[in-house]
Symmetry: D2
Subunit: 134 residues, 4 copies
């Protein structure tokens, strides 16, 4: 299961170099994995209602080409790894055929208190069914 | 009681016009009133520990001169109005003698649930003692 | 000409009160007037290509009900005023039938250097044709 | 040369989990390396005046403990690598003795047009003199 979430670059996301600021990509990844979860049938609002969170514990991004105001950036998103407590998503960001950015995030399943938890079996089943290792 | 909180402009707060984006000022006002509360002896973390919030219900800003990366902006902040449930802060933002921006915020005292509350008497006393109407 | 731009609330736009932070609405207004300009045939990227900007010189927002993660917020946007150098947009933000927020922005037509300019006649014509005073 | 830039967490930097949002750390790293450059005698505004930028081309962060509103976070920052065109900074973020986050950024020296450039000899000399490999 791979999705592509289109993001219309906001002026507020640019910086004085005239391009999108490198921090602005991070909420896009989040929006994309929220969309992914919704599409596999696990809306993140429901995850939260169960008292769970997939907190970000690691983040890596490589910037290849700048995005600009006016661009529509597609955030290609897929789940590459599921453990008993941990998820890993991979991302490629595109403007048409141009690769702008690549990256990943790792997540820990936890209570709102911050305590790590095993991913409940029903969620784990859905996540594993939608894994895409490459 | 008027404070002046210095803010060092972050590159992330600029936009493609080469100046600070107009939305970037809003968290500065917040940082400044948090500092004001600390200085009058009501740290906002303590306000929150009591289950209270001073939620923003109105915001107005007039932009006079752009701020730029590298500037140190001073956020002059004072409390102009206190009611039984409502606060109003006023702000002037300066780079040296240059007025960059003026504005205000209004706040409603509420529970975390969002329910409006009377400001507790002890807080009200401190706020009124530090009012500055002009 | 009134548009309604749907915005899916991002987790990054919330704060520790569990609702959307008041500063997060400001880029939404911007996204909505960019969409408005596109729909009346004046894409903002083209405005910029002519060396012009509609810089924000004033901003006012009244918050009526909190937006939350998972909400889809519609930003109703229309142009209420056009002068030789100045524009004023009005906004109402909705979650379904619930009014979340109302506000306005005022803009000054300027060069990238910051110098104020008369709005060029062809742009002015399009803007006036799409005014909606109420 | 290692610096520690103190950052007072802003309410706007938190999210609905009640902690600092993972994207909020990214501008802190930037503020810290700007401070580092200032302290070694290469204010970034001067770098920009020469038509140069140290654009971020890679970013990695590992989150160990959450930061919260009210925290003062110290961003320990040092330059671990200098090439003819590339820089790498390393970061550790602390609240007192508690390690909150670790990470790095890589930068490419470029013109404002985006074209990669050799770092000018005088800058390179200062950077190398302030390297700290571990």
């Amino acid at each position: 299961m791979t999705i592509r979430l289109p993001i219309t670059v906001r002026y507020a996301e640019t910086d004085a170099m005239g391009v999108v600021h490198h921090a602005s990509y991070v909420p896009w990844l989040e929006a994309a994995r929220v969309e992914w979860l919704g599409q596999v049938g696990l809306p993140y609002v429901d995850v939260e209602r169960r008292g769970l969170a997939f907190a970000v514990i690691e983040l890596g991004l490589t910037y290849r080409n700048p995005a600009r105001f006016g661009d529509i950036v597609e955030v290609e998103t897929w789940l590459v790894e599921v453990g008993s407590r941990v998820l890993r998503y991979q991302y490629r960001l595109w403007r048409g055929e141009v690769l702008l950015c690549e990256g990943f995030t790792r997540h820990l399943c936890q209570e709102f208190s911050g305590k790590a938890l095993r991913i409940p079996t029903d969620l784990l089943g859905v996540l594993e069914a939608n894994l895409q290792r490459v």
